[in-house]
């Protein structure tokens, strides 16, 4: 019980399966395959280069698009989920449990299927347009737009926002709020001065947990954006298992994405903040 040795297998494991792979990504990002002069066709050798990284600059529109869409989705998620989390946390007993259960239940369906169901709903001849058609409205262009991609992100990552918000809000004692009221604060002030500041850690965790998967998603954009809204994730997939095989470039984009996310993390001062993470994971 007093020994550190039990962490030994884990440390070895992490080195092999986390550290080495990331080093490999870095290795790929900084090397390129060039054809051997006078060699057989397809024969290549590896050279060191920073070409891949500088090439990523070409994809600036993709990067900004990913960040923009993910940021919009995160903000919408926050706005939608904050009240839900609050309502659930203030409800008691059976109410609270039932609502929480209802919010988490959709997570149990495969996210690809749920996104596919959204396709059925949003299409030109989809269910929503047919519904509006009954009243002589539409058809609206919904699928294959940036809005559809954002919707997909909001829908899929909403629980990641609700959970941390909920768990931080249940920690706010009713007595604290009552005390504020007794001291003369009105509803708005109670919210601004008590509830909001106390829930900030949850907000931060929620933002990270929505933004990170949203900015790196690569299926939602393909399904709901029609392939025209290429995101960073799609770009990476395209280079590794997609239509434009170039793992070196793919690795370079991955590195850029990682740096970008670390930057976002540092903004929110989240990295390594263990106390806050623990309570919020499923």
């Amino acid at each position: 019980m007093k020994t550190k040795a039990t962490a030994f297998p884990y440390t070895i494991w992490m080195v092999i399966f986390i550290v080495v792979p990331l080093l490999l990504v870095a290795y790929f990002a900084f090397t390129a395959q060039v054809p051997v002069e006078g060699g057989l066709a397809g024969e290549t050798r590896t050279v060191f280069t920073i070409d891949n990284i500088s090439q990523v600059g070409k994809f600036a529109p993709v990067l900004t698009r990913s960040i923009t869409l993910a940021a919009i989705a995160t903000v919408i998620c926050l706005i939608i989920c904050y009240p839900i989390a609050y309502i659930i946390s203030r409800g008691g007993g059976v109410y609270q449990r039932t609502l929480l259960m209802l919010v988490m239940l959709p997570m149990w369906m495969n996210f690809l299927l749920r996104t596919y169901a959204w396709m059925t709903l949003l299409e030109k001849n989809g269910l929503i347009n047919r519904f509006f058609g009954l009243f002589g409205l539409g058809p609206f262009e919904m699928i294959n737009t940036g809005g559809a991609v954002v919707l997909g992100m909001v829908y899929n990552y909403m629980p990641f926002m609700i959970l941390p918000l909920y768990s931080i809000m249940t920690k706010i004692e009713v007595t604290t709020i009552e005390a504020a009221r007794d001291l003369g604060a009105d509803g708005l002030h109670v919210f601004l001065r008590v509830i909001l500041p106390l829930s900030i850690p949850g907000v931060k965790t929620g933002i990270t947990m929505v933004f990170v998967p949203a900015v790196s998603t690569f299926i939602i954009s393909r399904m709901l954006g029609g392939g025209g809204y290429l995101l960073i994730g799609d770009l990476i997939d395209l280079q590794f298992l997609g239509n434009a095989y170039n793992p070196n470039l793919g690795a370079a984009i991955s590195i850029v994405l990682m740096v970008l996310i670390l930057l976002c993390m540092s903004i929110f001062n989240q990295f390594g903040d263990e106390e806050e993470m623990e309570g919020t994971l499923l």
């Binding site: 054809p35 057989l40 066709a41 397809g42 070409k58 994809f59 529109p61 993709v62 900004t64 698009r65 960040i67 923009t68 940021a71 919009i72 903000v75 449990r97 299409e123 030109k124 001849n125 262009e141 294959n144 500041p197 900030i200 931060k204 029609g226 392939g227 025209g228 809204y229 290429l230 799609d234 770009l235 395209l238 280079q239 590794f240 298992l241 997609g242 239509n243 434009a244 095989y245 170039n246 793992p247 903004i267 929110f268 001062n269 499923l282």
Partner: protein, 414 residues
């Protein structure tokens, strides 16, 4: 401990899937007439051999709607287990093989990709003694340019690219017949486009009168500009998704392979098909064994099985492409062999060109241009980004100020 139900759910799922396995056993065998004797097929039975087959989506008769389930029939006959998975484009197949992500035993790439794979020595030469059913092939499909002497490949299907359209969504029948209709602004948001570089560029190349195998970077750049101009009209870049979208009436126009067009037209009467006058691509897909295959002989047996005239006929009936298998063609209905979409006249195909394997730097350039096309976005809102950035900065400042204030307050109290 509100998570205990998770394990219960899991247990329930497991329990549920066991009777399912038992249920899956019962299945009709449907007698096949084999042209190669059964001893050939049964020599590996009971050895626990399995092969990995990697094929295009919707490219084999799979047993749905009372068709022949080819993979299961092969499994039942030979005792060799088939792991079947699918890809959407030649380039995807290439990536998957190059990344070493999988050891496949049978793959079915198109002509130009076979050429490229041969160049990069990614394929194994076939042992023709193990594929006796080669004798039923139509001579005209043997010894193709991409694989002289049929060393590495056995043709599976052939086809060509045309345009599928939805009659109810076309404004003017006169416009049909040319690639130009895919650049017609009337069809804004109503056009589907190939989601792979070679096929997409081929359309621009035919339209501009360039060779489909051009290695001239300037010509390719021209084509890229064309495709960029078209992008704002395109609803989505798709491959297999096209079935769903065209059948559901989601789009008016889509260039695609004739065989699949035929399948779609069977399911939706509103769909039509034309071969553009500027010319188009004619292709062949062929079965190959990639390097890294562990069961080469079993893979050759699978290829031989696919060449069985009855199996070939079942596949062709299901997927709608042209067959290079003369004996299988004999077995097909008049309805199919007489169909002008599946088997167009020689004049209609006079203006077609086959893909050749491109030199490596042209392939790389094409990949690069393709990525550029997809990442470029003309309609992109440029004000939004600075605003978001500003919002993010303000938010982070706000949080930091708030944190600072709180710290000060805490210090004040203590």
């Amino acid at each position: 401990m509100r998570k205990r139900w998770l394990s219960i759910a899991l247990a329930a799922l497991i329990c549920l899937s066991f009777p399912a396995m038992a249920w899956a056993e019962e299945e009709d065998g449907g007698e096949l007439e084999l042209y190669t004797d059964e001893a050939y097929y049964t020599r590996f039975a009971g050895q626990g051999i399995s092969i990995n087959v990697y094929n295009w989506g919707e490219y084999i008769s799979d047993g749905s709607d009372d068709t022949l389930n080819v993979n299961r029939a092969f499994q039942d006959l030979t005792g060799i287990r088939v792991y079947y998975s699918t890809y959407a484009t030649n380039e995807e197949l290439y990536s998957k093989l190059r990344s070493g992500n999988a050891n496949y035993d049978v793959i079915i790439p198109s002509d130009y990709m076979i050429g490229r794979m041969i160049n990069e020595s990614m394929l194994l030469p076939l042992d023709k003694d193990n594929i006796p059913n080669l004798q039923y092939m139509d001579e005209t499909f043997l010894n193709p340019i991409y694989d002289p002497g049929d060393v590495y490949s056995v043709p599976y299907t052939w086809g060509y690219v045309g345009v599928i359209y939805n009659k109810t969504l076309i404004y003017d029948e006169e416009e049909l017949g040319s690639w130009d209709i895919l650049w017609n602004e009337k069809y804004l948001g109503n056009i589907l486009m190939f989601s792979n570089s070679r096929d997409a560029f081929a359309i621009a190349q035919s339209r501009n009168g360039y060779s489909l195998n051009t290695t001239d970077p300037d010509e390719l750049r021209d084509c890229l500009e064309d495709l960029k101009a078209q992008k704002s009209l395109v609803q989505a870049y798709v491959m297999d998704e096209i079935f769903d979208k065209m059948l559901g009436g989601e789009a008016a126009l889509a260039p695609y392979y004739a065989g699949d067009a035929l399948t779609m037209m069977d399911d939706n009467e509103d769909l039509g098909f034309f071969i553009p006058e500027e010319g188009t691509n004619i292709f062949a897909d062929a079965m190959c064994i990639p390097k890294g295959s562990r069961e080469k002989e079993a893979a050759e047996m699978y290829i031989n099985f696919m060449l069985e005239p009855e199996v070939g006929a079942a596949n062709i009936e299901y997927i709608g492409y042209g067959t290079p298998n003369a004996e299988a063609k004999e077995l097909l209905d008049e309805e199919i062999t007489g169909n002008p979409v599946a088997y167009p006249s020689e004049e209609e195909l006079a203006n077609t060109e086959a893909f050749a394997a491109l030199p490596q730097n042209t392939s790389l350039l094409l990949d690069e241009l393709w990525t550029e096309l997809l990442s470029n976005d003309e309609q992109y809102n440029r004000i939004l980004v600075p605003m978001i950035m500003l919002a993010a900065i303000l938010l982070s400042i706000g949080i930091n100020v708030q944190r600072h204030l709180r710290k000060n307050k805490r210090n004040y109290f203590s």
